[in-house]
Symmetry: D2
Subunit: 347 residues, 4 copies
């Protein structure tokens, strides 16, 4: 007997994260072939194969123009949005009203505090409804919110940088060991796919290759997510993104002062307990630091650390693939949680 398969739709499957998600959904054993949707413009009608010839074979995976009327007859249970945050902000209220569960890969519904949300400048049609969804949306980091994700109607899939920092930082902050006054420094480096598929001067090969640069200093939009989820105040953390000349991968080097000297085994215990049973976080032993290569094309967030000789400061290094644990892989992990499947299913 073959089980009935879950029906999903993806809007925005031609971007880097969207396409990574499409590939994952297509080979997930519990899912029917997804419906691929696109909002007007040039992408509409274009097949996935026309953007990514390597996907081709018997099937070219056409995208259908988005309309609400499509979702119901197709029996769509879950809609993934790999769209600009403005569009997510617009579509989600109606989708929920129509009974479709959402995993949104944009930044539209991640933030709980008005101050943090301000940076996006959302202009909602129904402000009260939006405010309600801001409250009820679940931040889709399963390692922190597994239970709420299970029943969530709206899962706000975390940012790539944010995932890399929160996974490394939250256990230590919650342990009470961190000297928050000293301030946490998060020096983060990302591959270029994090900047999206649209060609810009910033993503031109000649500008990126043989180069390295910091950007959005004191002003990156993931800062709010990090603060909220790690449980820190604005003045307690600095987050600096940099652009690496590689296609994918993030490494975050996080500098943390401790209230009192700690030993390696104390720190290791904090991580081991926090991530006990977590299938997509790997804790490396003291002094064994992950590299970007180790996590590429997997859904792992790798975490290693090293204590200063005096035990008063610790450097945590975390790595992940920005398109996997930083976007599409995590979205699928969330789907697995939402339906009670193994978090490893299809990953």
């Amino acid at each position: 007997m073959s089980a009935v398969k879950l029906r999903t739709a993806v809007m925005g499957a031609t971007g880097y994260a969207g396409f990574e998600l499409a590939k994952l959904l297509l080979r997930h054993p519990k899912l029917a072939t997804p419906l691929f949707l696109s909002r007007g413009g040039e992408a509409a009608g274009h097949s996935l194969e026309s953007h990514y010839p390597e996907i081709g074979g018997a099937e070219s995976y056409p995208q259908e123009p988005f309309s609400w009327e499509l979702l119901k007859p197709r029996g769509i249970d879950v809609l993934f949005l790999a769209t600009p945050h403005e569009l997510s902000r617009e579509l989600v209220p109606e989708a929920l009203a129509r009974g479709v569960r959402i995993v949104d890969l944009s930044g539209a519904w991640r933030l709980k505090q008005d101050a943090n949300r301000a940076v996006y400048g959302f202009e909602d049609q129904d402000a009260a409804k939006a405010a309600e969804l801001d409250r009820t949306a679940v931040y889709g980091l399963p390692e922190l919110h597994r239970a709420e994700i299970r029943d969530a109607k709206l899962v706000a899939n975390p940012g790539c940088y944010a995932t890399s920092v929160i996974v490394a930082l939250a256990p230590l902050v919650r342990s009470g060991l961190v000297d928050r006054e000293r301030g946490v420094v998060c020096d983060c480096k990302s591959g270029v796919s994090g900047a999206g598929k649209k060609p810009t001067a910033k993503t031109h090969f000649v500008e990126v290759a043989d180069n390295f640069s910091a950007y959005s200093v004191f002003g990156h939009r993931h800062t709010g997510e990090i603060l909220e989820q790690a449980g820190l105040d604005a003045g307690e953390l600095i987050f600096t993104p940099h652009l690496l000349p590689i296609p994918r991968g993030i490494l975050s080097t996080i500098y943390i002062g401790l209230k009192k000297p700690a030993t390696p085994s104390e720190i290791e215990a904090v991580f081991s307990e926090f991530y006990d049973g977590a299938q997509w976080v790997r804790i490396y032993g003291h002094g064994k630091l992950p590299q970007i290569q180790y996590s590429l094309r997997t859904n792992y967030c790798d975490v290693g650390f090293q204590l200063a000789p005096d035990g008063k400061r610790v450097i945590v290094v975390s790595c992940l693939d920005n398109l996997m644990k930083g976007a599409a892989g995590q979205a699928l992990q969330n789907l697995n949680v939402m339906f009670g499947w193994s978090e490893k299913e299809g990953l």
Copy 2:
């Protein structure tokens, strides 16, 4: 006593080749600071520094909007065009009429045969004048046309691929050793700056890195230049460009059948005699093949070769920097020839 310096202008100094040229002109000892010109649009008014912060210092090198009225009072002797070929086609007739000598880096004036020119689809306002200039323009490869360049009013600076192939091929074709019926295969590979500064899907870092591809197979516009300058007919040569995941540099692998078996010293003699006294071509000994790294950021075209064991076929490998010998460096070399200076001056 300090000599009066030559006055030059550059139109299009914000593209990759144009900016390389700007840097060369700025440090050439016999030149005054060039006038930088731009045609309307977004570039106008923008300084070179706004595009290339590394050039900055005391001076930001503003671009002035192009107008004919500017050239005369500034006493411009030579105008470099690093512009689209349509614009070169439009500007050159009037520039010459006003007595300004031109070095044009575009493909506008390189071709002698109508059949080859057809691929560009030029639409000239004064067809008779254009045809005259097509005839009198000098193909700016000093190693082949040194004498004509000296007195030329209009120098058509060669294409990057074309330079790399012609330098390697012309001596052998002219020697009569080549079996033209068998056909010459030119398998050429270029870094990304050859595709220009405009961000496109093709130049997006994520599409280029970790990748390699052929393009414009049987249809690249440099084919005509190569045929004309090497002295071959259309059916006698195949030229296939490929895109390398590096910022700059070209390597061409050229497969040539010989009419009868040759020895290494015969081939070496052909090159040595042809390039006797040439300052920007380096001939490597038999079996010593140049690599792209050797010529980067120099004006050299490096040439090496290897004979098949039976002596009937020879592989010639040539390398150059597409922004130097393939564009700006060669333009400056042409200027040096035009004014009787050492070809090494300022390079």
Copy 3:
């Protein structure tokens, strides 16, 4: 009821191809956890995890020192050799005598003609036995030798360059369309993992990055395989390898003269018929050329082609991942064929 799983061993799993194979075997549903073997020296005793931390988790995958006595009690059915060809030459006769089937990833047993084998300079202890194995070994390209692989005791897994060229070339040569006298030119480009894991001046990052070079001109060891399998004589083909500044992937540009003008559909028919039912060769339509990115981390060999306007010459472009279809993926495909499983199983 769970089927009994096949037992395999891998010798040399710490090299790039060997490790790729180890990862594939570990997740193949019909295989037990492989036995990892190593021949003395520094690798012995080292676990796979010590070389590749990313594989780690509960298991570090230790390597055991090779001995014949290990294979029998462990019930090893198939031994994969990812070893230097000298070692393969030494081990295979005894392995076969002991009833273990072999898939050898080295060049030891690929060649049928003495003249081609000479380049390796094999020194066999039992020359008669070796000669017999040279005859009976099956060249492990399933698309050409599927039936013989099924029953083979010794499968000689093809070289990476060779696979890329033979897949593109063999159908056309066998069709009788190729003008063999004119000569086929194979201009091939490979990523660095093809050069092995041993650090050398040639694989130093600084020597490879921003660079590109030809090597082993008129002298690469894969030439013999290509000639034998494509069915050409020595004077009828030139094969030139180049080193690409990317970790993995091969693109071959193959220039073929035709006896008489052909149409795109004729060429397409040749490929379609030859690869009818082949699961790991993708034929792109006329004028649609594969890029290295399309086949990376898959077992596909992608083939596209373009005819000259006069129909007399055709350029075939083929791409594959040198560690997959060019080595480990193909080894697993061969295993699938040997045991009558789907060729897609575990790939």
Copy 4:
């Protein structure tokens, strides 16, 4: 009248820094062709051209085996050591005794404090003499020690990372604005040539490309230099190096807490005054951050900064080319200072 040219020698010109220095010395207008020396082993007798074919032309630049007897008759005024620090430690005392001035590119003579020197484990033959030289050696950062370099017999050329951090940090520390208790975090990223020319697993292309990693956390040897020259105590600074997948270039992101809130113009004034007249430090305005590309193949150290909105913390970003301002370029700048020439001469 042509001035007598200074005579220099270089020991170790085949490494990356040594070769960069060789190229600079060869085109410096006030220097005779340098004497290239090598200490026995495989490099001896090898010409520079055999390592770097691109240097070739009429001259192959042979290396002569090192001996003290060579220096005097050749009239060598200055000896550059691009050698391992153990060898520098051994050669320098005698060189000084023989009246030759030294610019040492190794770490042998940079450190003033015993505690910092301990990490190198020097084993000196004449400990008293070595201790004296430790005291009298001048740290060769002209922006900090211009006057002493002028008369120095022994100039200890700074480390690449150290230069990048000290130039950015020293002015602020000396200004008294820095909250030293809070601790300075230096997150530094370097291209691969900084790891030297010897092929190792760490510099293998496949291990570096598409990757990024931290190393020598809490234990890099440049830490001592940075502390001594910036004027901080060991507990006040963390320095973490990372390996970038690029051939050359360093970017340091430096996080500094301030004693009290500052304004952009206050910070800018600190830098402007400190580097008033400095020809090889470029200060970018507030919020304009340098990128590695800007300084590549120049001797500049570029410095930019951005203040936190509350003015209590500042991020300083500095960039340089590790083979130029981080090694060979700085060595030549030091030579220019030693002989009273313009610091721009030959650079």
